[in-house]
Each structure stands twice: as structure tokens, then as C-alpha cells.
């Protein structure tokens, strides 16, 4: 008879734990601390209180929670933090990853299924980790006659272009990776790269289904790019600027979706088409042409394309929020601390409580206005992402001639109507310099 579980003995248990602790301490001392020192030696450390921080000082500060705050604060102001973590890649990838999971659950609920369920005990919350490990360990099969360098580069370029799109999106006041003067034109320039990458990958695969899918993607993205560009002209006419941060600042009292609802609807439809989502998912139509331009991608290459397309989805939803829904503007979720509390602490009768940390939180980089802005921005973006996800469970796929008809006839006419609404608001004296509002 085999024993399913060995007998539990407290002595063995304690021994195993002390063993683990011993090896963790040994590894940290021998490898962890030298690595931290080597990394700190090559990083430009900031000047704090008129004193240049040395690696030794920085290491001491890292171990001390209160002293580490200014160090983290100076790190948050570097370009690397912006590119890698907060308004940049890490933030976008986090939202993209959670969108994939939420989409699977939402679609399952719409179709009376349960969706991912077993991985991670609670509603399959670790499904993404499992999928990532699966994709990482799967074999990458490339067709023998494919153009290999381009085929390898296409998924990485797709993710990188989506990341460049994210770089232009302002998330909170002053929190944008690249604050470009002509941000909106830069967005159009970045969007223009996606059809090129799609066609390159589908051409290099040297297979028929990717080829047809790539040509469909080219038609679709190209026909919807002109309504996309024209539908945003109304916002530019009313604000007189192309900078996305200034466009958000112009919406402190009224969102542009109130005055330009037609433009918002046209932009939303073109957004669905640019993202290749149902009802416009002709390039990946799985019941017609296997998987469209993704047919020959396998393993991690497919995973990268998926990640890139969901980062692109986040970027488009964020662009919609920035242009039409007022970006980070909103009433205070976390109200600013009254100055008397900062100065004197909370006083209730004879008792007064000093709150030394409050003062730091208002003047540091991580302050109330940043948290407030990010909360509002993420809230609005999540709502827009939900509206992008829901049509997948509701609509059928359109035919390609209907798609081109929608793009070239209806949406372009509607976006011209939107331009004339904007001009009418401007010249009737409702908005603009010296306007009623």
C-alpha cells in the first residue's frame, strides 16, 4: 500500500523552514546585496538635501522606510519610470492583461458559460499566468518558405508600435511619457504603422490565409483611417490645439461628447474597426479564413501579437477618454487635506493628533491630485473598454463590401456633419473666445 501523505512531524516541519531561511539568507548576502550595489553604482543617483547620494547611502536609505521615500520620489520623476512603469509600458500592459481576463469572463457570462474557472481557485483568476507559461513553453513553428527575419520581427514590432501609441496618452496632470506639441498628429502617424506591420507579417508568412487576412486588414484599416481623422477635427476646431494635455485641460467644465456626440460615435465605430474587433474582425475571421493574418503565428509570437493588440485597445480607449470624456477631470474622490490639519494636526477637544506623513503626501510626487486624476482616468477608460468588449458577444461580422460602404459613405458624411456642428458652435458664439459658455 502506498502512502498518500507522509506522517506530519513538527520537528521535520521546523527543520525544513529553518533550512529555507538559511538558504534565503545565504543567497541574499552572497548574490542579492552585491547585485544591488553593482546596479546602484551605475545609476545616476539624485542630490537630496544638497548632498549627492552615494551607493552606500542609497543602500542605507532603501532599508529605512522613512528615508527611502525621497529616493523613491526622485525615481518617480525620472524618464525611465515614466517609460517603463507608470504612464508607460507597465501600466498599459497591466490594463491590457486584465482586459484579456475580463473579456473572457464577460463573454462567457454573455453566452451563459462560466469561462476560465479552475486556475487560481477563485474564478480562474490565475488563468493568464497559466496561459503565459503555456505560450512560453510551446514550440514556435515557422513555415519553411517564410521570410524569417521579418516574420520574427513582426510581433515585436507590433507590441513596440502599440507602446509608442501609449507614450502619447496623458494619464494625469503632467503624467505623460512624451508631451508632444502636435500630439494628435503623432497619434495618427503611429496608427498608420499598424497596417504596414500587418501586411509585412502576412506577406512574409508565404501562406494563403495570412495573405488574404493581411489584405483585408489593409483595406479595413485604410478605409476607416479617414473617418477617424476627420471625426476628431471637431475637437481640434473647438480647442484650437493639437496637444492632448491641453485638450484635456479644456474639458474642466464640459466634456466634448456633450457638444460633439456624432464625432464621438464615429470615432468609436472607427476605433472598433482599427482594433479589428467584432463586428469588424474580418482580418481575423476565424470561421472564414482560419485566423486571418495570425494563422501562421504559434507559441509566444501569437502571445506577443495578442498583448500588442490589447495594449492598442487600451490606448484607443484612453484616447477616447482624453478627447471626449474629459480625461482625468472629475470631482475629488480623495478630497485635499485642509491646511489646518497639515499644520496643527487633528484637534478634537483636548486631544490633538499630529499627522506628520500627511504633509509629505501633499508635496511629494505621489500626491492627492495625481491619485485623483488616475482614479478618474482609469474609471472612464474601463467603462470605454467595456463598451468595446460588449459588441463581441452581441453582433455578427459584417461583409467586406458593407464594411467599405460604412466607412466611405456613412462615416465620412457623419464626420463632415460633425465638423459643421463644431463650426456652427464656434461661429454662433456658444463656444470659443468670448463665447457664452
Amino acid at each position: 500500500m502506498s502512502v498518500i501523505a507522509p506522517k506530519f512531524r513538527l520537528g521535520h516541519f521546523i527543520k525544513s523552514i529553518t533550512n529555507d531561511i538559511f538558504w534565503i539568507v545565504v543567497l541574499i548576502t552572497l548574490i542579492g546585496i552585491p547585485v544591488i550595489f553593482i546596479v546602484l553604482f551605475y545609476i545616476d543617483l539624485p542630490v537630496l538635501d544638497g548632498e549627492l547620494v552615494t551607493p552606500f547611502l542609497a543602500f542605507t536609505m532603501l532599508a529605512h522606510p522613512e528615508l527611502s521615500i525621497p529616493l523613491i520620489d526622485s525615481f518617480m520623476n525620472t524618464d525611465f519610470f515614466r517609460i517603463a512603469i507608470f504612464p508607460g509600458f507597465g501600466f498599459a500592459a497591466l490594463i491590457a492583461g486584465s482586459t484579456i481576463f475580463v473579456e473572457r469572463k464577460l463573454l462567457a457570462k454573455l453566452q451563459l458559460r462560466v469561462g476560465p474557472f479552475y486556475c487560481g481557485k477563485i474564478e480562474g483568476i490565475l488563468q493568464l499566468v497559466g496561459d503565459g507559461l503555456k505560450l512560453l513553453s510551446k514550440e514556435i513553428i515557422i513555415p519553411a518558405k517564410a521570410d524569417k527575419p521579418i516574420f520574427w520581427a513582426a510581433p515585436v514590432l507590433f507590441v513596440a508600435t502599440a507602446a509608442a501609441f501609449v507614450a502619447l496618452i496623458p494619464v494625469a496632470p503632467g503624467w505623460v511619457v512624451a508631451d508632444v506639441d502636435v500630439g494628435l498628429l503623432a497619434v495618427f502617424a503611429v496608427i498608420g504603422f499598424f497596417p504596414i506591420i500587418t501586411v509585412l507579417s502576412s506577406w512574409s508568412a508565404n501562406s494563403k490565409y495570412p495573405f488574404i487576412g493581411g489584405i483585408r486588414a489593409l483595406h479595413q484599416m485604410i478605409s476607416f483611417e479617414i473617418p477617424l481623422i476627420l471625426s476628431l477635427l471637431g475637437v481640434v476646431i473647438l480647442t484650437g490645439t493639437l496637444n492632448l494635455t491641453e485638450i484635456v485641460q479644456s474639458q474642466t467644465s464640459y466634456w466634448w461628447i456633450i457638444f460633439l456626440p456624432i464625432g464621438a460615435i464615429v470615432f468609436f465605430i472607427t476605433m472598433l474597426a482599427e482594433l479589428e474587433r467584432i463586428p469588424f474582425d474580418l482580418p481575423e475571421a476565424e470561421s472564414e479564413i482560419v485566423a486571418g493574418w495570425l494563422t501562421e503565428f504559434s507559441g509566444m509570437m501569437y502571445g506577443l501579437v495578442q498583448l500588442g493588440s490589447y495594449i492598442k485597445l487600451y490606448a484607443f480607449a484612453a484616447l477616447f477618454v482624453v478627447l471626449f470624456l474629459g480625461g482625468w477631470n472629475g470631482f475629488g474622490v480623495i478630497p485635499p487635506t485642509p491646511p489646518e490639519i497639515v499644520d496643527f494636526g487633528i484637534q478634537a477637544g483636548p486631544i490633538s493628533v499630529d499627522l506628520p506623513g500627511i504633509e509629505k503626501l501633499t508635496e511629494r510626487t505621489l500626491n492627492f491630485s495625481l491619485i485623483n486624476g488616475v482614479v478618474w482616468f482609469v474609471f472612464k477608460t474601463v467603462i470605454v473598454i467595456f463598451f468595446i468588449l460588449i459588441p463581441r458577444g452581441v453582433f455578427p461580422r459584417v461583409r467586406i463590401d458593407l464594411l467599405l460602404h460604412i466607412g466611405w459613405y456613412k462615416l465620412i458624411t457623419l464626420s463632415f456633419v460633425n465638423i459643421f456642428i463644431a463650426l456652427g458652435l464656434l461661429y454662433a458664439g456658444v463656444l470659443g473666445p468670448g463665447g457664452l459658455l
Binding site: D79, A144, A160, A178, S207, G240, S253, W408, P433
Partner: protein, 138 residues
């Protein structure tokens, strides 16, 4: 509504490096994504199994059939005219942004030529769409 936005902006000369400085961050983000994502492919290639015993595995996917013919063939899409239209009208749509972003600083009479431009653009687009229906010429 928001007075600071509608101030008449003075023409400022900016250095080339200053302009490039803001765009370089977009490129940095592009490069960062490549640096982060390329190892995913490399690690996958290192840990995943690679068996090259069966050459059928490396044929292009055609739903189980033996693939016939070349992958890159001449393919009649029938909607080629729309791509030609895009080449013209994309540029024209971007032209409108030059007007739209400065309209608050322009005189009201400056809108009339743009209306004429929009009219020409719309008429040309209508004619092109009319032609695009004639499949026999594409």
C-alpha cells in the same frame, strides 16, 4: 469658456533639438518595448521543444490539405480603388488639421476658402466613390 486656451499665441522659434527632445521619448518607448519583448521570444525559443523530424510540420497551414501553389499569388481583391482613394484623401484630411488647429486665430473670412476646399474634396470623393462601383475597370 477657458480663457487661457483662446489667447492669441505668439509665434515662437523653437530649436530643432527641443522639438526632437519630446519625440525621442516616443522612440525610447518603442525601443523599451522591443528590449522587454524580444527576450520573451528568445527564452521561448530556448526552453520550448524543437523537433525537426517531420517536414510536413513546416508546410503552410491549409486546413489539413497538402498546400498547393505559391503562398504569394496575384490576388484579386476588387476593392483596389479604395486604396487609391486613401492615398489622396488621407493627405487632404491632414491638410484640414492645419486649418482646424489655427482657426481661433484666423479671421472669419478665412473659413470661406476652406468651405470651397471642402466642397471640392467632397465632390471629388463622390466622383471617386461613383467610379469605385464600376468593378470592371479595376
Amino acid at each position: 469658456m477657458h480663457n487661457f486656451l483662446y489667447l492669441r499665441k505668439d509665434v515662437k522659434a523653437t530649436l530643432v533639438g527641443e522639438v526632437f527632445g519630446s519625440y525621442s521619448l516616443v522612440l525610447a518607448m518603442f525601443g523599451f518595448a522591443i528590449v522587454v519583448m524580444a527576450p520573451a521570444l528568445i527564452i521561448s525559443r530556448m526552453i520550448s521543444p524543437r523537433t525537426r523530424s517531420n517536414p510536413v510540420k513546416f508546410l503552410p497551414m491549409e486546413c489539413g490539405q497538402v498546400p498547393s501553389g505559391a503562398g504569394r499569388t496575384h490576388f484579386m481583391m476588387q476593392y483596389y480603388s479604395f486604396i487609391l482613394m486613401f492615398v489622396v484623401f488621407d493627405v487632404m484630411a491632414i491638410f484640414l488639421y492645419a486649418w482646424g488647429s489655427t482657426i481661433l486665430n484666423l479671421e472669419k473670412t478665412a473659413t470661406l476658402p476652406i468651405m470651397a476646399f471642402l466642397g471640392i474634396m467632397f465632390a471629388a470623393m463622390a466622383y471617386a466613390l461613383y467610379q469605385s462601383k464600376r468593378r470592371d475597370i479595376w
